[in-house]
Symmetry: C2
Subunit: 498 residues, 2 copies
């Protein structure tokens, strides 16, 4: 077996190298590239992607996987996991013909341009015919795969391996009414004060402060770096080179602190994967939701908690004495946790965020099972916004056109954001059982035991376990909304005196 | 024909994309990469290099080239040039077995480590056995090719296509005695004053000033950028993304100005190649010597000229009033052109530089034809240094161990530096015939006509012509040392009152 496994690892290692090279090129495109470089860079990325695909779906790789599958059958070893994940990826890759990928590239490239224009003019009709083509392609994509319980399962599985539409629906159906109820209760309470957050804050000072925070978290600068980019993101070139980006928003300067903590959460996950998985299909995080659980944990459960700011607020106040003059720790804490139903998902607070996601999930499922026509999306969007959040978009730009995802063909992605929030709290409950004095540690700015727990229970495993399997292994149950509802209720009852 | 040509261009375009992706990874490695990233990056680069090679030397590419060769035979078209250069590269690539490349990678990797240690301890005996292996490999490499007039021809041809050892010898034999004589005359003259160059200069101000200069030259920032790196270099990701790096040396701060001009010279060459050659073997500069002619022209013939500083010196003086207090333009001009025989090639001035190169060339030819044994290199080195430059290295670190090239197997490279100097002046004489008032233009800081001339006569052609052919086409004669000797003699007679 060992010889065939070595052969498979060598082939997959080359594919991983090409994929990682493409990540370097994409990162450079967003962080450094001069404007003129765009066209050639697109061509280079297309070539790398084509070659990675060619090198992966060879008959030889298929034979190696088949032979190894029989040999490792059922074992709970790294080798068995590697073969299982390789087999899953191989099966998916072989089912989708290159001609479809080429067609999709053309359709989504045009759809992206149309979306930009439609959003600029706040006119859904410009985007509509393109989105209709995207939805056609989504149906075609689904047709390459064996029938599932629900056609949306096929899409979801690409982002959350093993997750079913029925599971997600069940989770969200339990969550929605409770979250809506909480928001209504908050809406009828006295709003917190947060005007001081929107004063002018010096960018360089904020950047240094946010880097100090994530250094404290345990982000390893010997194996990473942070740069400025138009959008914050994390990207992995190897377990020993995991980079993040940040940005300064003049109308919301402190957002930089939280987005840096968020991306560092993703990055520490990648830095913590067992290094022997590098260049294999077991490298990297196991799913988008589990990934998001890590970023949201550091951003929200740590970074928007009172104990955390008991440690860091004095330093922040010293850095910005005039902006925070007369602002107590408690007032600051409440301000950064202000709940305010709003139109735009990416700006949403912890209490309202998931509702934005649920709305999108319902629309996606409707588009996929045919119960919702693309042309009706704006109206349904606006109705649901009113129902869940009590706000109605004044135009499509701040409604159905706000997200980039669909223009790129990414249908099935959104729910992972909300699932990530749920998983983060589900893990957090378990962590607080295992580390009884966690709050005291946070109060001292000591994150070492927390990070060690995450390394041991989540990070190191990479993609060895599927997301539901991992969550169950660690917490004793599959992904559920219970902990999240408990957390939101407790936190916001205190803040808003419910 | 057109269909086969399209097929060939598609194959070669993919190979070019992979090579350019590798360049992005190398650039990142030197400019951005955190220390941890090193091992994986080496692996990624090895994979890309292997795949580019595999994709290039297929039988299909060989058949396409053979068929096309017959069809374009003898034509002076872009298509014929493309097939000719592709055929040359293909023939070279097919002759060298992958096993040799793998062996070479191992040998040079060890040789590089040994060289670092040997240089650190100034002990040639540590490097000697490794260099002996490198020389063995060089002999083996030569054995893959048909016998040439001189075995060194095979090596030279990799850097200067079409150039023969006999040509280079002839050129340098004519140059050496005149250059030695000039240096002796300078040595017996009154030395110029340059102590003010070594005061403290603010790094940021110097950087901004050097970027202002190359903006004036015509370096296109929409298609390039400059970053800091341990060593200055130029790298090309496409004709529309050509980057340079620079560094600040605290013991020689103004070196940054000249190295930025130097790298911008390389970069403007690459930015000026006919864009239709991108992704083909005709992209990029035609040879190292012609490339160096461009960098040295902007660095020396422009950047160390009196007219240039008549324009820029007032601004420099305004920027650094205390450092340049009481320093006249003439004094500054003489200082930046000071001639001082020294031990280290990379620090050598215009008048002595070529002698460093000639010494290395003689040693390389001796190693290749067997007349010089590796163990005797330090002694021969020191003897020749005394003979040519009148200085003797006190140790091997500042003698035979100073350059990285041999440790990496790069034998045949050095002469291109000196040839580049010769070509730069040969072109410069012709330019001054075509642009009669060039000095006046430089005095106004107007480089547009100069750049336009270079674009038209040199840059746009990319690799369409071999170096000797290009130089002859433009100047009427092949590479010769006459113009260079005239230039040096005139310039330094004025500066040193010879």
């Amino acid at each position: 077996m060992s010889e065939k496994l070595e052969q498979l690892k060598e082939r997959l290692g080359e594919v991983a190298d090409i994929d990682r090279a493409a990540s370097v090129l994409s990162w450079d495109q967003q962080v450094n590239m001069p404007p003129g470089g765009n066209e050639a860079r697109g061509q280079q990325l297309a070539t790398l992607s084509k070659i990675a695909q060619e090198k992966f779906i060879t008959d030889e790789v298929g034979r190696l996987i088949d032979d190894l599958k029989q040999e490792v059958n059922g074992a709970d070893t790294d080798e068995a996991a590697l073969v299982r994940v390789a087999a899953r990826n191989y099966d998916k890759a072989r089912r989708v013909p290159p001609s479809f990928i080429a067609e999709q590239a053309i359709v989504t490239s045009k759809a992206f341009e149309a979306w930009i224009e439609a959003k600029g003019k706040s006119d859904f009709s410009i985007f509509q015919p393109h989105l209709e083509k995207v939805v056609e392609l989504v149906h075609k994509y689904i047709s390459f795969f064996p029938p599932a319980d629900h056609p949306y399962d096929t899409l979801l599985d690409d982002y959350e391996p093993g997750m079913k539409t029925a599971d997600v629906k069940l989770i969200f159906d339990g969550l929605r009414p409770k979250q809506v109820k909480l928001i209504k209760a908050i809406a009828s309470s006295k709003q917190v004060k947060d005007d001081f957050l929107f004063k002018k804050f010096n960018e360089k000072k904020l950047l240094d402060f946010s880097e100090k925070i994530i250094t404290g978290f345990g982000y390893d600068w010997n194996r990473g770096r942070q740069d400025k980019a138009p959008h914050p993101f994390e990207t992995t070139f190897s377990v020993n080179d995991v980079r993040i980006t940040t940005r300064y928003e003049s109308d919301n300067p402190l957002a930089m602190l939280f987005s840096t903590m968020h991306e560092a959460g993703h990055a520490m996950y990648e830095q913590g994967v067992n290094p022997v998985y590098d260049r294999t299909p077991l490298g990297g995080g196991t799913s988008l939701a589990v990934h998001e659980s890590q970023s949201r944990m550091w951003e929200n459960l740590v970074g928007r908690s009172l104990p955390f700011w008991e440690h860091y607020y004095p330093a922040l106040k010293k850095l910005f004495p005039s902006q925070l003059d007369g602002v107590s720790l408690k007032t600051f804490y409440k301000a950064i946790n202000k709940v305010q139903p709003s139109l735009i998902r990416v700006n949403a607070d912890e209490a309202t965020y998931n509702l934005h996601v649920m709305l999108r999930l319902e629309l996606e499922i409707g588009m996929v099972d045919g119960s919702i026509a693309v042309k009706d999306l704006p109206e349904i969007w606006n109705t649901k916004m009113e129902e869940y959040l009590g706000v109605t978009p004044p135009d499509d730009a701040s409604g159905v056109l706000q997200d980039i995802h669909w223009s790129g063909g990414a249908v099935g992605y959104f729910s992972t954001y909300a699932l990530g929030n749920l998983v983060s709290v589900q893990l957090w409950e378990k962590i607080n059982k295992d580390i009884r004095n966690l709050d005291d540690q946070l109060r001292k700015g000591d994150f070492s035991e927390l990070l060690a727990w995450l390394r041991k229970n989540i990070h190191q495993h990479g993609q060895k376990y599927e997301p539901q399997q991992l969550v169950e292994k660690v917490t004793g149950s599959k992904i559920s909304s219970g902990p999240y509802v408990r957390y939101l209720t407790k936190k916001y009852s205190e803040i808003y005196g419910l």
